[in-house]
């Protein structure tokens, strides 16, 4: 058994025999020509270019009809590359001038392009080199006379393995049911191949470096498009594990295709926002297929992890901008970093030591107010990224009015600074996390300083019930349905409604379908959940009756114990399912 690590390019799991195609042809060899031969060589080169152009045209029509205009534009970029002076003039000139074969002239030109692109710092622009590589290899394949296995004559269901694939290949896979997925040596998440694979719903792992030369046709492989790994000749236990996971994914997929385009409304027409919780360090595109209406909580702690220097303003700006663009037109709520003292020490901030009780310690807004420059850097990055106006900022670990006031002062000075520097920036809507009982109890006063609130139920429950969830002796006392918790949630929501402001729940409680009934019942506007739970919660909301849930929530507030609350919810659920 061999496990190869690559890049997860398209979700899903493909299992089956490998079919190796488009093997790396190796570097072109140099051949010297006579002037007459060179003349014919230029003609041969130009013919290959025209054949490539014809391929692109055929592919464009296909793409346009199957995937739409946006994808077809990618092909247009390839067409322009084909018309570039490098292809139309530089290479023919080289063939004639240096009396060399077309393959070698093409190879030299590509080497030169790769060298130039390698110097670019910006990842997005650097990745564009794959567009050039794709086009150049396509020309090279037309120059080569050798017959190659093509995806169109696959008889047995197989996982395709190749050095690289052209979008035209992936297009053919879409129509060929025998292709289970694919693995390539080259490629990145942003490559066209990956984009096509995602829209075709084929699992893909790319960037595997040398898989096409390591594997032989017939080797049994598992391409895991979730983790970005390929397992060659797996053990029976691994195969079974993957079979189970694959069945699970297919079930999810069936639910997904049914739910993704349906609105999150209760049976009696009450609209609830179901948003996603994400981490800023991940790819914002990963969950776009869920078609969430917004990001209810984007954590930024991850940007400060696994490093010894602080993330710069520009680095943060790029991340937030990418996120805002990925979800343009939808609200994106970004929480300022909730980092603790130990983390800060590792980032080179002096004078902090490991804390005895970090849950009640130096973290979140407390740390940022002590080191306002850290906060200001993050706020400047956020304001600059807010070009489209869809970013909101949320403050973690708030316990008092003064903290929010102090935060706002720093935010105001960051905006003033950016304006003085003439940098484009836009202020963001401001919200706070309600996760500490003191904040919950003065929420009406805090609301005068902010536009919205979001309840972090995990911490709110832990602080209200004085239960450390990781302490095995007391963790069983952690109870979301404790009447005290329900009353706090009700109090928070009522206060927000009186002020006409939005309440969202971004803790785990929102991801529990039974608790969701209570939360919707007390009038929470938004449930923000993990991507994994997103569709289940949307599904649960669509099954709720708002009026019944509201009545049930009110009666739950008068119950003396979590046990009785749960019994009430169960009873309602069963009468509900009878109807």
């Amino acid at each position: 058994m061999l496990i190869k690590k690559g890049i997860a390019a398209s979700l899903g799991i493909a299992m089956g025999p490998a079919l190796v195609i488009n093997k790396e042809q190796g570097r072109a060899e140099k051949r010297m020509l006579t002037p007459e031969e060179a003349h014919a060589e230029v003609h041969r080169f130009k013919t290959a270019v025209e054949q490539t152009r014809a391929d692109l045209k055929a592919m464009r029509d296909k793409v346009l009809s199957v995937l739409g205009k946006k994808h077809a534009r990618l092909i247009d970029a390839h067409n322009l590359i084909l018309s570039d002076v490098i292809i139309t003039q530089t290479i023919p000139k080289k063939i004639r001038g240096k009396l060399i074969n077309a393959e070698y002239a093409l190879q030299e030109a590509l080497d030169n392009i790769e060298r130039q692109f390698a110097k670019i710092d910006d990842e997005y622009f650097r990745e564009r080199r794959f567009d050039f590589i794709d086009v150049f290899k396509k020309i090279a394949s037309h120059l080569a006379s050798a017959e190659k296995a093509s995806s169109e004559n696959i008889s047995e269901p197989s996982v395709l393995v190749a050095s690289s694939l052209f979008p035209s290949d992936t297009m053919a896979f879409r129509e060929n049911k025998s292709v289970l997925g694919f693995c390539t040596d080259l490629g990145s998440k942003a490559s066209h191949t990956a984009i096509f694979a995602q829209s075709a719903g084929l699992p893909a792992v790319v960037g595997l470096v040398d898989i096409s030369s390591q594997l032989r046709t017939g080797d049994y492989i598992i391409a895991d498009g979730e983790q970005g790994i390929v397992i060659v000749n797996p053990s029976a236990a691994i195969i079974n594990k993957y079979k189970a996971r694959k069945a699970e994914l297919e079930k999810e997929e069936a639910l997904f295709s049914r739910l993704k385009d349906l609105p999150a409304v209760t049976v009696d027409g009450h609209k609830v926002n179901v948003f996603l919780n994400l981490d800023a360090e991940g790819s914002p595109f990963k969950w776009k297929r869920l078609k969430a209406g917004g990001i209810g909580l984007c954590r930024t702690e991850g940007l400060f992890m696994n490093r010894s220097i602080l993330p710069s303003e520009d680095e943060q700006y790029e991340k937030y901008l990418e996120l805002a663009k990925a979800y343009s037109g939808c609200p994106v709520i970004i929480r300022t970093a909730d980092i603790g003292g130990d983390r800060a020490t590792k980032l080179g901030i002096k004078g902090l030591h490991d804390e005895r009780n970090p849950f009640m310690g130096f973290r979140g807004i407390r740390l940022f107010l002590k080191y306002p420059e850290l906060l200001k850097t993050q706020l400047r990055a956020l304001f600059r990224a807010n070009i489209k106006g869809n970013i909101s900022i949320m403050i973690p670990m708030v316990t008092s009015y003064n903290e929010v006031e102090a935060f706002r002062q720093i935010a105001d000075s960051a905006i003033a600074e950016l304006a003085a520097e003439g940098r484009p920036a836009k202020p963001c809507r401001l919200g706070i996390m309600i996760e500490i009982p003191s904040a919950a109890l003065i929420v009406d006063q805090l609301l005068s300083l902010v536009d919205f609130i979001s309840v972090g139920t995990n911490d709110l429950i832990q602080y209200s019930l004085a239960v450390d969830r990781v302490n095995q002796y007391v963790s069983s006392l952690y109870e979301p349905f404790h009447p005290a918790v329900l009353r706090l949630l009700h109090l928070i929501t009522e206060a927000a409604k009186r002020c006409g402001k939005e309440v969202s729940i971004c803790g785990e409680m929102a991801s529990d379908p039974e608790a969701a009934a209570f939360l919707v019942g007390i009038g929470v506007d938004t449930l923000s959940v993990t991507p994994k739970m997103f569709l289940r919660i949307k599904n649960a909301v669509r099954k709720l009756n708002f009026k019944t849930s509201a009545a049930m929530a009110l009666s739950a507030l008068d119950l003396p114990s979590a046990k009785k609350v749960r019994a009430l919810f169960d009873r309602e659920n069963s009468t509900h399912s009878k109807l």
Partner: protein, 89 residues
């Protein structure tokens, strides 16, 4: 010969589509058209590869040079592309 400073003001910078628009526009004039970025990289504006290698993000400054027939028209047309943000919105 005309030289002009231009600023990239469209949000996404000179990615594939704007680069294509620059190349198409520049190619429609007989003069030579060059673009230089702040690092001194000078590229042929009629080459998609050249223009994309500028890696010009939003906010960066470029020096546009045109030399030869219809150079004034070429500069005007390219300036307009930048000012119109490549019809991004």
């Amino acid at each position: 010969m005309i030289k002009k400073n231009i600023k990239v003001v469209n949000e996404l910078g000179i990615h594939a589509r704007p680069a294509g628009m620059i190349v198409n526009t520049a190619s429609s004039f007989p003069c030579e058209v060059w673009l230089e970025n702040e690092d001194g990289m000078n590229v042929n504006a009629k080459s998609i590869m050249g223009v994309m290698m500028l890696a010009a993000a939003c906010g960066s400054n470029l020096l546009l040079t045109a030399n030869g027939g219809k150079e004034e028209d070429a500069v005007k047309a390219i300036e307009k592309l930048f000012a119109d943000k490549f019809d991004e919105d």
